[in-house]
């Protein structure tokens, strides 16, 4: 499978990656090669095989529904790019 510049830009948008046409052109070749490479999977004998999500087929462990983590809001917000009054700041989303 081969991807062109507009397809790369579409995937970049879904991936939330800013990308101009020049950059998209640069990625198109490598991405096309990778998609062509993984097409080798088409020949695999996987009729009736269960997909494997975990190497040991372990199941999700459950724990009692109890509070275990302390409140560290100030510590975590100290490393944020922009906070005010205990809130994370982002550009206005509602006019």
């Amino acid at each position: 499978m081969s991807v062109d510049t507009s397809e790369v830009r579409r995937i970049a948008h879904l991936s939330r990656l800013a990308m101009n046409d020049d950059q998209a052109r640069d990625f198109a070749g490598g991405l096309s090669d990778i998609f062509a490479f993984v097409e080798q999977l088409d020949g695999a004998a996987i009729e009736g095989v269960e997909p494997m999500a975990h190497p040991l087929d372990a199941e999700q462990r459950l724990r009692p529904d109890a509070v275990t983590e302390p409140d560290r809001r100030e510590t975590y917000q100290a490393i944020a790019p922009a906070v005010e009054g205990g809130l994370y700041l982002v550009p206005r989303v509602i006019e």
Partner: protein
């Protein structure tokens, strides 16, 4: 001093032949003097290291014994370290000073290890050459025009040049074993779930596994004793009782059944000289009583393609958290929220990381899930089943770690050729099996790695086989001339 191993230093510390502060200062001086040639460290934490050394000396003075008490180590910069920058080799996390420590770091600290700093790595552990780091490439101590391998290339180069006696790595598709092979050291990827992933920045969660990198198998066993163990904070941590990974070091190899996967020897890409080194290593093991037979892993040729669906899919999901809002890099003057997300990510991530995020986003997008991700997960099972059958007849598998010698910086410009340098390591990740690389020879002054793959939870046996090999050979003891 460059010749002494991590285990040797622990014994000298216990015998009070050297203090932790003296030893720490020795290695800090080596890093300052020699690392400019390698770029193996992103951050050196000299003051904290000396404080930890003093604390270790106080414990040693009280006669305390602990597996790593007073010995210097380095942490791959993928492990969160409270109060210390944890960059993951990325501009995205260049400003990130972690508010907590990874379980691996906490455990090693508790065992008395002294952290000298954080080692360089491919950005978000995505790479096989250490050329994708935001902090510049790491150079191979055996030839500084060549790559050290990746993604744990900083740890491998630092240990190879004896700038530190032991370091941590992580292995998603070969990122401990391939750089260990390229830098002439020993490195172990444990069974999936052995070592906690808590605080280890996630790349592909069903494959990522942390492990030790050091000069010898004994060192790796000692480090793993401190690193491994159940952790309720990692939902995929396996609940098993503590184990001594050095327990089988002295076990002889009489009757050990070693399997040689024919697929790992017949590939066209295998350098004949590498093959010669592996053949010689097999003779050494036979000489110590091991029995060797061929086995088949008929689906192993599908490992790399399956990996490049599964790993990018998981990566695209894991790296969605880096959005410029709560921590890490944020672009200047965002116009709106979408601009904040896309430019922070577009400017914060390097090309290889973007490439994998896009592959992952694509294979998980509506209409493509079955054709890619589900199919790759099925292929993953048939690859794991191949191993299951092989281990019915043999105790360990033996193969080259890499098909070729360490390559020159810039030599692999196209992504797929870079991906194929992990052709012999990826299958063990897909199956979740423990596997290690140890030095087995030299060609034109460059080290060659031998890979051992074990059955689930059989790390102690792998380390035992490697240790027996290291009793008979001295490849693990060789240090590049410029760093001796």
């Amino acid at each position: 001093m460059a010749q002494e191993t991590l285990s040797g230093w622990v014994r000298k510390l216990q015998a009070r032949e050297i203090s932790s502060r003296e030893l720490t200062q020795l290695y800090l001086d080596r890093i300052e003097r020699l690392d400019p040639q390698l770029n193996s460290f992103i951050t050196v934490t000299a003051d904290q290291a000396l404080a930890q050394a003093d604390a270790a000396d106080a414990r040693l003075a009280k006669g305390e014994e602990s597996p790593l008490l007073g010995v210097p180590v380095a942490q791959k910069d993928i492990f969160c370290t409270e109060g210390v920058r944890t960059s993951c080799g990325s501009r995205m996390l260049d400003p990130f000073v972690s508010p907590y420590s990874a379980t691996v770091v906490e455990r090693m600290n508790a065992a008395g290890a002294v952290m000298l700093g954080k080692t360089n790595m491919d950005e978000f552990a995505m790479g096989s050459s250490n050329e994708t780091s935001f902090y510049g490439p790491v150079r191979n101590p055996w030839d500084t025009e060549r790559v050290p391998g990746g993604s744990s290339g900083g740890s491998a180069a630092a240990v190879g040049a004896r700038l530190v006696p032991g370091a941590t790595g992580t292995d998603t598709g070969g990122s401990i074993r391939q750089p260990a092979a390229f830098c002439g050291i020993t490195g172990l990827k444990p069974t999936y779930g052995r070592v906690s992933r808590y605080g280890m920045i996630a790349f592909a969660s069903s494959l990522d596994q942390g492990g030790p990198m050091a000069a010898t198998a004994e060192d790796c066993g000692r480090m793993l004793n401190a690193m491994a163990g159940f952790d309720e904070r990692d939902s995929t941590s396996v609940e098993r009782p503590a184990e001594d990974f050095t327990a089988a070091l002295d076990q002889d190899l009489k009757g050990l059944r070693i399997g040689l996967p024919t697929e790992f020897f017949g590939e066209a890409g295998l350098d004949e000289r590498v093959r010669g080194v592996i053949d010689a290593a097999i003779e050494v093991l036979k000489g110590r009583g091991a029995e060797v037979r061929e086995v088949g892993l008929p689906n192993s040729h599908l490992s790399v393609p399956a990996y490049y669906v599964v790993a990018p899919a998981e990566c695209s999901s894991n790296l969605a958290r880096f959005d410029g809002v709560r921590y890490g890099y944020r672009c200047e003057n965002p116009e709106d929220l979408m601009d904040l997300y896309t430019r922070s990510r577009g400017e914060g991530f390097g090309d290889e990381v973007k490439r994998r995020i896009m592959v992952g986003t694509y294979v998980l997008s509506a209409g493509y899930y079955d054709a890619y991700y589900l199919k790759a997960q099925k292929v993953r099972r048939i690859i794991a089943d191949d191993f299951r059958r092989a281990f019915e007849d043999v105790d360990v598998l033996l193969a080259p770690t890499t098909p070729e010698l360490p390559f020159a910086l810039g030599a692999k410009a196209d992504p797929v050729s870079m991906y194929l340098s992990d052709i012999y390591t990826i299958a063990a990740n897909l199956a979740g099996l423990p596997a290690m690389s140890l030095p087995a020879g030299e060609i034109d002054g460059l080290p060659v790695g031998l890979q051992l793959i074990g059955n689930y939870f059989d790390e102690a046996r792998l380390l035992g086989v490697a240790h027996q090999y290291q009793q008979e050979t001295d490849w693990h003891a060789r240090v590049p001339a410029a760093f001796a």
